[in-house]
Structures are given as C-alpha cells and as structure tokens.
C-alpha cells in the first residue's frame, strides 16, 4: 500500500495536476454555493474541458469539482435555508437556526472542518479498503437494499422537529410524489396526467429547490423570516466555544463512518448518508434537546457524512464500473472519452490514475479548507443584504439552475408549484426535509421491494432470511417504536440512554 501511495503522490503532485485540482475545487465550491446548481451541473459544465486534458488530470479536476460542489452546497443551506445540493438539505435543519442566532460564522467554520474530517476519513477508507469494499457492494441483494432504504425513510421521519407523526406524513407525501412517472416493473405510466415530460417523474433538484428555495423566498416576502441577529465579522466570533469543540469529535467520527458506508453502496449516496447519520445522532446525542434549534452536532454529522460518502462513492464507480449516481456516470464518461474503461481491472491496469486520484483528494480537501476559511467573512456579510434584494436574485438563480438541467421550461413551472406547496406546508408547520428524503428514497425502495419479490416469486420471507436485511429491518422497527413512545418515558441518565439505543 505504501508503494501505491508513493505512486499516487508522484502523480498527484505534478504541477498541472495540483493546479487542476485547485481549479476544480475552486470552481466546484462556487457552483455549489449557487442554489440549484449542484455537483451534477458543475461536472457537466466542465466535462468538455476535460476532453483536452490527460485522463488522470481530467479525473482529478472533475473529482475536485464534484466534492467542491458538495462542500459549497452546505453554505447556502446554512445562510439561506436553501440547500445548494439535495444532500445538504439536512444541514439546513440546524445550520439555518445557527445563522439566525448570529452564529453563521461558527456554523460555516464547523462545516468546513467537519467536511474536511469526513473527506479525509473517506479517503483513508478508500486507500485502505477499496478492493474489499468493491466486493462488499456485490454481497448485497435487492432485499438488503430495500432494508437500507427503509431504514433511511424511518430515519427521515425521525429527523423532523415538528413531531414524528408530522414527519411520517411528510415522508409518505414524498413517497407518493416519487411514484409519478413510468413504473419500472410494468412500464405503465402513473400520475403523469398524460404529460409526456413527466414520464420520467419530477426531477429531484426541481422538488428540492421548490420546497426549500422558492418557499423560503415566499416566507421572507410574508415577513415570516425573522431577521438575523446581527453578527460582527471578526475571527474570534467564528470560533466555537471550547465545549463545542469537544462535543463535535465523536459525532464527526460517527458521521464519517455512516457516510463512508453508504457512499460505497451504488445508488444510495450522500443524501441517505446524511439523513441516516443525522437521525442516529439525534437518537444517541446527549444534546438531543438542542437538535433543530442550532445544535452544532446537527451540522457536524450530516456534513462529515456526506463528504465521506462523496469520497467513497468513487469505489463502486471506479472498481466496478457502475456509477452510483448521474454525477458518477459523468466521471465514467470522462474516462471513456480517454479510452479508460472503469472496472475491476482499473486499479491494476492504471494504478497511477487510481492512486493519483486518491492522493489528489487529500490535496483537494486541503485546498477546500484553505480556500473556505478566509471566505467565511464574505459569506456572513452576504446576510447583511436586505431580503428584498437577496431573495429575488436567489429565485432567479434557482430558476436558471433548474432550467439548465434538462433545458425544460416545464421543470421551472413545476419548481414554482413545489414552492407553493412548500409554503403552504410551512404555514402549517410541516417540514420539507422529510418530504424530500421520502421523495428520493421512496421510488428506490419500491423498486428494490418489487424486484426482491419478483426474484423470490412473491415470497416475502426473503426479507427476513437474509441476515443483512433482517438486521436492518429490525433496527428500523426499533427506531420507529422508540420514537413513537411518549417523551416522558425517556427520562433516564444520558449515559444509560446512549447505550440502550441500537
């Protein structure tokens, strides 16, 4: 492994690779900050540039764009309650309250550090375990994936601050909205109203930007968004208090572990990682009463989780040649145009490319940290722009971002409709985050459920015979029961609580 890392260092530290790594993370952060433009848009925009670069440089740059955008996405979540990327929607839950309490600087600094921590953790996981983890993805069958999705959905309903019942309702609404489009198993179109463009369902970014972005702008127009506590831009104010430092270490580690695990499963990715990480933390944290009101752990966990997942997502992509997400499909495209086919032989046939990329992650994460800490002051100043100037600009940016995905004007209208829905839901104290997670996971869960049933010829025992799925279904059940129990019953000492949870 040391030889490999040495080779990686030799590849990653050439002047041009370092430069493109920096350029990638820099552009990625900026595109990620813009609401509506996420890693997918960022990578797609820069894909043509990569055609003119050698394959390892191209990949180093695009990867930088990708995890840079993933990082940048959390900035808008904290400042504006608008997730720059769907996977940072969880960060809104605690990040935005912190910003409103005048602690945006602290939140951004912690985000930068948690992302760095998660990123580095993910890199170590790849460097040490890539071949093993690739095989691990092959051990899972549809029944196991179903159980993972189920756990994600249960976790999502638990993240809600407005009560489990409301959380479950939002998850269900999300699942229902996710059924729009052609059914995978029968090929029948569902709930499209005969609209051709809806055959593939409603886009994730369309829903996310409508529910969070547009509705946030409407709330601010209504005057419902309380003004931010004024914040002096000074470095001392950006530093968390001493006990907060100590409180973040264990959550960062847990978040990174959860993130590294889910990143390696093709198709689940960062959003699942951050929502499950958050839900678990909310169960076991001593500080759980603060969750949703600006708990520092509430941003540390999802940020370390989604950045760890962003790194480990490269494992199935590169070692199996199977993209876990559309963004990863673009990475494969970038390699294919250079005649490199990702697959089990990639590590042995192109060791310089593989290890060079991994070492470049290390530099990329360092660049992100160095790049972003000085910028915190600028981001915080952004909040001093009056809402009536800021939000119209944000809505325009979101509209452009949504339009740019499929060049579809219908998407923009759909997003506005979801904005209205989000606004009405918020008026009645329903939260958009569980809805979004239901919308993401619901269709996947249905797909795996029905595939598992198809393969077992209709025998539901398949979910309990496989140890993986049986354990995960058990955890989901326990989590749901625990949450449904009356609050008073849980008045035990914090230590006991931490051990009783699964």
């Amino acid at each position: 492994m040391l030889d490999n890392l040495a080779l990686g260092f030799a590849t990653a530290t050439t002047a041009s690779n370092l430069l493109y790594c920096f350029v990638g993370t820099f552009l990625g952060t900026f595109i990620g900050v813009l609401p509506g433009l996420g890693p997918l848009a960022a990578v797609a925009m820069l894909l043509p540039v990569s055609f003119y670069l050698p394959p390892e440089t191209a990949l180093v740059m695009l990867a930088g764009v990708y995890y840079g955008a993933e990082y940048g996405g959390s900035i808008a979540s904290i400042l504006l309650n608008i997730p720059g990327t769907p996977s940072s929607s969880i960060t809104c839950i605690d990040g935005y309250p912190m910003a409103r309490q005048g602690r945006a600087g602290v939140a951004l600094l912690i985000t930068a550090l948690a992302s760095f921590f998660g990123g580095i953790f993910g890199i170590l996981v790849i460097a040490g375990l890539a071949p093993v983890l690739a095989e691990f993805a092959l051990l899972l069958q549809p029944a196991d994936y179903f159980a993972v999705m189920l756990l994600g959905l249960v976790a999502a309903s638990v993240v809600s601050n407005s009560g489990t019942m409301r959380g479950v309702m939002m998850v269900c609404l999300g699942v229902l909205l996710g059924t729009i489009g052609v059914d995978v198993n029968s090929g029948v179109t569902r709930f499209t109203g005969g609209v051709q463009d809806l055959r593939d369902g409603v886009g994730l970014v369309v829903v996310a930007m409508g529910l969070f972005g547009v509705s946030e702008a409407m709330m601010s127009a209504r005057g419902a968004t309380p003004s931010y506590a004024t914040e002096k831009v000074s470095w001392r104010r950006f530093l968390p208090e001493t006990d907060e430092w100590l409180r973040t270490l264990a959550p960062a580690l847990r978040g990174s572990l959860v993130g590294s695990f889910f990143g390696t499963l093709p198709g689940t990715g960062q959003t699942v990682a951050s929502s499950i990480g958050y839900a678990l933390e909310k169960r076991i944290s001593k500080n759980r009463a603060q969750f949703g009101k600006g708990a520092i752990e509430g941003i540390v966990v999802p940020e370390s989780a989604n950045n760890a997942a962003a790194q480990t997502a490269f494992i199935p992509t590169l070692t199996l040649g199977i993209p876990g997400s559309t963004t990863m499909a673009l990475m494969i495209g970038a390699l294919m145009i250079h005649g490199v086919t990702p697959g089990p032989r990639l590590i042995t046939e192109h060791p310089d490319l593989f290890w060079g990329l991994i070492v470049s992650f290390l530099f990329g994460n360092l660049f992100l940290l160095v790049l972003n800490i000085p910028l915190i002051g600028i981001w915080v100043k952004l909040l001093q722009i009056p809402h009536y100037f800021l939000y119209p600009v944000v809505v325009v940016l979101i509209s452009i971002g949504v339009y740019s995905i499929d060049h579809s004007i219908l998407d923009v209208w759909t997003m506005l409709a979801f904005g209205l829905l989000g606004y009405v839901l918020r008026l009645y104290r329903f939260e958009p985050a569980p809805l979004l997670i239901g919308f993401i996971l619901g269709p996947m869960m249905e797909e795996y459920l029905r595939r598992a049933m198809l393969l077992s010829r209709g025998d539901p025992m398949v979910f309990f015979e496989r140890p993986g799925s049986a354990i995960l279904i058990g955890i989901s059940a326990v989590l749901l029961v625990l949450t449904a129990l009356p609050r008073r019953k849980r008045k035990v000492t914090p230590n006991e609580e931490a051990t009783e949870t699964p």
């Binding site: 069958q141 549809p142 029968s186 198709g267 199996l320 495209g333 089990p344």
Partner: protein
C-alpha cells in the same frame, strides 16, 4: 451491400458533399448549430455527439453545440426536433429508442418517425449481447436452451427496462427459441450489471461494449450477439442468426433534423459527417466504444429508419402488450 460498393458510395457522397458545401458555404452554417441529445450527459451516445460536434465545428467553421434533452425514452428531444425550424440549425443525434421503439410503445407519441424528419446521416450502431453468468453452467447457447426448456420460467433475465430494446429482443428470442424466461426489469444498464455481477440475475440482455470488461474477466459468458455478422470485439461469439434464430437488432445512431431541410444543407452536413467519421481519432474512439461505423446517403438512411421502425413494431407490441 458489399464493402466495396459501400466504400464507393461513401467516396462519391463525400465528393458530392464537398462540392455542395463549396456552393452553399456562404449560407450554411452562419451561426451555431444545436445538436439535441436524448440522453443525459456522460453516456456513450452523448460522447459520440460531443466528439462529432467538435469535428463538425472545426470542419464547418461554426460551433456545433450539444444540448442534452433526456426524458420519456427520447421522445422529448424528438418532439422538440419535429417542432424546430427546418433551417438546419437544430439537429438531433437520432437513435433506435425514440424513432423505432417509442412510436409503438407509446401510442400518443406526437410524431411520425419518418415523415416528420429529415434523416441526414447514419453514423453507426451498437449491438446487443445475451450474457450468462458462469454459475448457470451453460457455456453455449445450446446448453442454455436445453436448460431453459427443462425448467420453464425459472431462469431470470435482466433488461434495462420494460420496452427497452433488451426486453423487446429477449421476448423475440423467447418466441424464436420456444423457451420461457422470467423478466427482471431495471432502470438502465448500470444497476442491472451490478446485480448480474452480484449473482442476483444469471442472464442479461445488454449492449455489448459496456460488458466487454466483464467478458474479459470471465464473469460474463457471451452466448450470442444480435448483429448481422460476428463482431470484431467478440470474434468467438456466434450471432443469433447463425444459431438459427431469425432476430437481428442494432441500436443505431444518426444525425436527423426536422422535415423539409434544404437539400444543399443536407449535402453540407452529410459531407462533413462523412469526413469526420473517417478521421483517425473518431475511428479509434468508435472502435474502443464498440460502435460499428457505416456511411449511408440521406436517402438510404431514411429507408433504414423506416424499415427499422417497421421491423420493431410487432416485436414491441409483443413485448409490452
């Protein structure tokens, strides 16, 4: 068509096109040209469009811009193409799904694959393979068919979706070979290949190029390919026709525009595409991607699209009814 004739036609076409482009160079193209692609960015077809766009841009001195309009089995892009101005500034990377499969699969498809378009140039095609896992212990088609007949309905196969070409082809194969298999549909080829490797499904019908690494590694055994002749990339694998099953299928790619594009413009484009397809880097890329190139005149390509739609119609009906 023998190769020599094909080559002659290609040279003639290229020559004619060069003449035409000289005559109309003043008018077309005067501004950037859009190429609609019915896939999201990053897939092999998208890469074909981008590579071609780059070549056409340098050849014709105007930017050819790829615009991804994925959705509804490619019919979103094809509908937009039909409604675009027929001045040659909106083109599309036409392919099997929206033009040969969708009109039958979705009866409300708002266009006719032949009458509503100008089919300008054929580019090439990718073929389908039937792959078995080694665990099935069927080293060739004869053994597979024997086993499938012995245990009807027990062997699962994957395709990249209901009504996808893999599914449609598999149903046609079931009829030809008189076997009964169980269909497990996926959302695209990626997740299916993962499950195939994981041993969830023992058989899949999928495009050949992305499965070559699996074949090399020995985790996928190619039983047959859907091309008319054996493929250079899998020289030892028989075709379905060779084995006595009368089914051929190719996922073709071409460049098309809205109906009624001026003949001169078509000539210009055809010439530029023909010469782009001959350039060394395009040849090399197409070979690594497993795309079998072929030159066709606009008329021949139009006939090809018509016959492709016709031959897929009964198959699609059979698979999705």
């Amino acid at each position: 068509m023998p190769a020599a004739t094909r080559l002659t036609i290609a040279i003639l076409a290229a020559g004619l096109a060069l003449g035409a482009s000289a005559a109309s160079a003043a008018d077309y193209p005067e501004r950037p040209v859009r190429i609609l692609v019915s896939f999201p960015p990053g897939g092999s077809s998208d890469l074909v469009a981008r590579l071609l766009a780059e070549k056409l841009s340098s050849e014709l001195g105007q930017q050819f811009v790829v615009e991804n309009k994925p959705g509804a089995a490619g019919t979103v892009a094809a509908t937009e193409l039909k409604n675009a101005d027929n001045d040659g500034y909106t083109l599309m990377l036409s392919n099997l799904t929206p033009f040969s499969v969708a009109p039958t699969r979705f009866p409300d498809t708002p266009y006719d694959p032949v009458a509503d378009f100008s089919h300008i140039a054929y580019i090439g095609a990718v073929h389908l393979g039937m792959f078995a896992a080694p665990s099935l212990e069927t080293p060739d088609m004869a053994a597979f068919v024997e086993q499938a007949k012995a245990e009807p309905g027990t062997i699962d196969y994957g395709s990249s979706g209901v009504g996808s070409w893999g599914h449609v082809f598999a149903v046609a194969f079931e009829n030809e070979a008189d076997v009964e298999l169980s269909h497990i549909p996926y959302k695209g080829s990626g997740p299916m290949r993962l499950d195939f490797r994981a041993g969830v499904i023992p058989v899949m019908f999928d495009a050949v190029p992305q499965n070559l690494p699996n074949v090399e590694e020995g985790v996928a055994i190619p039983l047959a390919v859907s091309s008319p002749e054996r493929l250079a990339s899998l020289p030892d694998t028989p075709t379905f026709t060779e084995l006595g099953y009368d089914i051929v299928a190719e996922n073709w790619l071409g460049i098309s525009g809205p109906a009624g594009i001026d003949g001169k413009v078509i000539g210009t484009l055809q010439g530029a595409i023909a010469s782009a397809l001959k350039s060394d880097d395009v040849v090399a890329q197409f070979d690594t991607w497993g795309i079998v190139r072929e030159d066709m005149t606009s008329d021949a390509f139009t006939d090809y699209v018509a016959s492709s739609a016709k031959s897929w119609e009964p198959r699609v009906k059979q698979a999705t009814d």
